[in-house]
């Protein structure tokens, strides 16, 4: 608990774009690992035949299901775009232009979020 409080405190002290993307990367990363296990488990319904699988899948074909799917996509894209940004900075020593890179990655995220918004409907 003490460590968590300390981490939250450090986030507050260094608050800025870098800390936000760092925190988002970790939160989305942990959420995506948890989701992977759910995804494997859902898919295993394919063994129980077409009807069981379609029944299991249809539970996600609802407004709430589509909302979760969209949130999942946003988490994936945020994690992906930020990961590519980190990799580019590390491999090509781009620390000097990292502010602009951050803007580009936010731009890419917003574009994909807008492009795929029809998932919600």
């Amino acid at each position: 608990m003490e460590t968590i409080r300390q981490i939250i405190n450090e986030i507050k002290l260094n608050f800025g774009a870098e800390v936000v993307s760092f925190t988002l990367h970790r939160v989305t990363g942990i959420a995506l690992v948890c989701f992977l296990f759910l995804h494997i488990w859902t898919l295993s319904a394919v063994f129980q035949g077409p009807e069981a699988f379609n029944t299991a899948a249809s539970k996600f074909d609802s407004p709430a299901g589509h909302f979760m799917e969209y949130m999942l996509l946003l988490a994936v894209i945020a994690h992906l775009v930020n990961g590519v940004r980190i990799t580019l900075i590390e491999l090509f020593d781009l620390t000097a232009v990292q502010g602009r890179l951050q803007l580009v990655s936010v731009g890419v995220f917003v574009f994909i979020a807008g492009y795929t918004i029809n998932i919600l409907f």
């Binding site: 295993s44 394919v46 998932i119």
Partner: protein, 112 residues
């Protein structure tokens, strides 16, 4: 970097991340196109195709490595004692092996 031997995990985390970036986009674009879950026939068609099954086994391995190594990196930030480190590391290995076995069984054990 935490110690002298973490170059390989660092590099593999980047390599698996780039693999996942392309793989997950292909997966989403082709199977969840337009939103909503795929129907049985679409999934069944994938599970009988050796190419798709190989693609997904590779994706599963990259995902588990990337995800569990990521959890390890988060854990290291908490600066815990030596024994809880090895307990957590063993737990991650067990989860990884079990999830890979389960996932690979689901991917390869299907017959229409």
């Amino acid at each position: 970097m935490t110690n002298g031997s973490s170059l390989w995990p660092w590099l593999l985390q980047r390599v698996s991340g780039l693999l996942l970036s392309t793989g997950v986009i292909v997966h989403f674009w082709t199977l969840h196109d337009g939103g909503g879950p795929p129907v049985y026939a679409e999934v069944a068609a994938r599970l009988v195709s050796p190419c798709w099954v190989s693609f997904y086994i590779l994706l599963l391995a990259a995902l588990l490595y990337h995800g569990l190594n990521g959890l390890w990196a988060v854990f290291l930030d908490f600066d815990t004692g030596h024994s809880s480190k090895s307990v957590f590391k063993t737990t991650l290995y067990v989860i990884g092996a079990f999830a890979f076995y389960t996932g690979a069984t689901v991917l390869t054990g299907f017959s229409p």
